[in-house]
């Protein structure tokens, strides 16, 4: 073993782009100040509102799982700045390939967050229209979708929607994945394809430091952003709990992609403040001291402190936002409980786009079998006679 520790390993703070300190003070960065210069107080309050609402969604969904209304939930707690900052930098025509924790990005793409919960309740695999929102379905097999994003970006190139200078036409693709995913072969293959094709795709890696129970040190000996240059993909490390910095580096990468400058690897250094999912128990593998140290870097507190110090967070705004969050919570609870039950025969729908005789035969048999209980005699499993 070498002697590499946190100062040079994958958990180092070195080289992180930061525009807001954990204490909420605006710091200057020569390369990125201009990227946020147009964000006025209204815009900053908008980012704050996004993060507060997404966190409320997180809280409600977790509670619904505890009440048995959801089978599972994957919290985004602590990653709001990484997701809102990057998501708000996107243009309407851009396309996003999320992993499964990108509820904040979903929100920025206009996806009603209750649609995300259909997946976790088990009524479908994601209720939103992936094409209409430019936000594809969640991908649960880690890293697979980095290739889909790259292929999509190769299609964007073939459509001539890169480098035209038309801000409504030039299109970028963003793929979200985590620290654990960087070990997957598909992610390396995606970087190869993106690099040699100069594809307009942004690799947005949220290093939240934990792949379920495995720390980032299990995946790498060096900062994850170092993965990019070996493939010929420029990379940048950003403080993922700083919504301004995340916005700025994403905006830069998107502009590079849209203008024909090719792919970028962004490592957003953040922290998964909650469990991996509601089935996980982080007390088995990490310390409360570590969790506490990251609570001091809470992304929402950071922006709130900043706005308060500038006198730009009025009581009226805060109260209005609290009421909006309460209403969202109420709507989430009502919507989830009213999601209904999918029809058993729906399992045969959309297996193929065109008729498939085996599926049709099995469906016909199943429906006839179900219909044979139409008199209500079937009361439960094992009551078939």
């Amino acid at each position: 073993m070498g002697t590499t520790g946190h100062t040079t390993g994958p958990l180092t703070d070195d080289g992180l782009v930061q525009l807001l300190t954990p204490a909420g003070a605006r710091t200057s960065h020569p390369d990125y100040d201009a990227r946020v210069a147009h964000l006025d107080a209204d815009a900053l309050r908008g980012l704050y509102r996004d993060m507060v609402l997404v966190r409320r969604f997180d809280t409600e969904a977790t509670a619904l799982q505890r009440q048995g209304e959801l089978a599972l939930f994957a919290q985004g707690l602590g990653q709001e700045a990484a997701q809102i900052g990057s998501g708000r930098a996107l243009a309407a025509q851009d396309h996003v390939f999320p992993s499964y924790r990108e509820h904040g990005v979903a929100h920025t793409r206009g996806v009603d967050l209750t649609e995300v919960l259909r997946l976790f309740r088990g009524v479908d695999h994601g209720g939103w229209d992936p094409v209409g929102h430019g936000f594809h379905l969640y991908t649960l097999v880690i890293g697979s979708h980095t290739l889909h994003a790259t292929g999509y970006a190769m299609g964007v190139q073939r459509d001539g929607a890169v480098g035209t200078g038309d801000p409504d036409r030039d299109t970028a693709v963003v793929v979200y994945f985590g620290d654990g995913a960087t070990s997957q072969g598909d992610v390396s293959e995606a970087l190869v394809f993106a690099a040699v094709n100069n594809a307009p795709v942004v690799f947005f890696c949220q290093n939240n430091q934990w792949a379920i129970s495995e720390p980032t040190t299990t995946q790498a000996r060096v900062p994850l952003a170092d993965r990019g240059p070996g493939f010929g993909v420029p990379s940048v490390r950003v403080d993922g709990n700083d919504v301004l910095a995340t916005y700025a580096v994403t905006a830069e990468a998107l502009e590079r992609a849209r203008s024909g400058g090719g792919p970028t690897f962004i490592e957003a250094f953040t922290y998964r403040m909650g469990a991996h999912t509601t089935s996980d128990d982080p007390t088995r593998y990490r310390s409360s001291a570590e969790e506490e140290s990251w609570r001091q870097r809470d992304p929402i507190d950071r922006l709130r402190t900043h706005l308060e110090a500038r006198g730009e967070l009025s009581t009226a705004f805060v109260e209005e936002l609290a009421a909006e969050a309460d209403a969202l919570g109420e709507r989430i609870r009502t919507t989830v409980r009213g999601m209904g039950h999918p029809s058993p025969a729906s399992m045969f729908e959309h297996v193929y786009a065109t008729p498939h005789s085996v599926v049709e035969g099995e469906r016909a048999w199943f429906e006839q079998y179900e219909a044979s209980f139409a008199d209500g005699a079937r009361t439960g499993e094992g009551s078939h006679r």
């Binding site: 979708h145 290739l147 073939r158 598909d186 293959e189 394809f193 959309h350 297996v351 065109t354 085996v358």
Partner: protein, 344 residues
Amino acid sequence: MSTTTDVATPRTTETPGGVQRLTFAKAINLGLRRALEQDDKVLLMGEDIGKLGGVFRVTDGLQKDFGAHRVVDTPLAESGIIGTAIGLAMRGYRSVCEIQFDGFIFPAFDQITTQLAKMHYRSKGRITLPVVIRVPFGGGIGAVEHHSESPEALFAHTAGLRVVSPSSPVEAYTMIQQAIASPDPVLFFEPKGRYWEKGDVDLDAAPSGPLLDKARIVRAGTDVTLVAYGPTVQTALKAADTAAQEGTSIEVVDLRALSPLDTATVAESVRRTGRCVVVHEAPVLYGTGAEVAARITEECFFHLEAPVLRVGGFHAPYPVAKIEHDYLPGLDRVLDAVDRALAF
């Protein structure tokens, strides 16, 4: 490095027409050429398919005529080929991916079975992925290991994929065009041992005839139904010729598709003959023959004069080339199974 891909499509020389005597490989080549000409969204992707024309020359000359942005030499990464083809399909492109050899498909297994197969289903029909995966498969060419395998059942077992295998040049020419037109993903298994065999192909015929989900009786008979697909159809026809000299009338059914399996055509035949033998190069354990046997037994139980028999590969890795013909189901093993079925 260019920042955008050149979108201009160089026009091809006129595709040859009329009835021509072509090798299996050339028939596929001309089917691909026709698809490329008819739809700008059709792309070919694979390793060495450009200047080299593929290791079997199936894509010979296509990059020269259609450009490197449509006939794409990819990095050596099978998962990457299929994964990017999925993304391209989401953007409206129809990729025909070449997996260089059967044994090289497994790095792409997740992308094919977990991603490609399920996307239409999980998106509730909002996303279609018209991706064709061409796989030269099967043995008999004296190759080194991993170059002679028959993994088709692994894909037929996966809902969401269509799995087909042509058995002749004319079928190959037609079926590759039908596969490209299909909105569903298609695994297209090409019997590489037959690439150099010739047949007459009407190049002007529109891709009609039986669709990708229909079996076909390729030789009528009365005593035994011999079921085959891909490379073993020719073996089955030879067996029928030989058996005819001994007074046995064999009906040969070419399955053409493994998913969906056209049980109806096979069952109709077996109800007439009362006997059924299935032959494929893939191992018989959990193979296509097992599925055919189970379904025919269910549907034709009272018509059967003998159990459905299977002839195929053994439950061993594909052997070294010097003994591969002892592994493959050749003429003698097929006739032996026919005799056993008749002796019941």
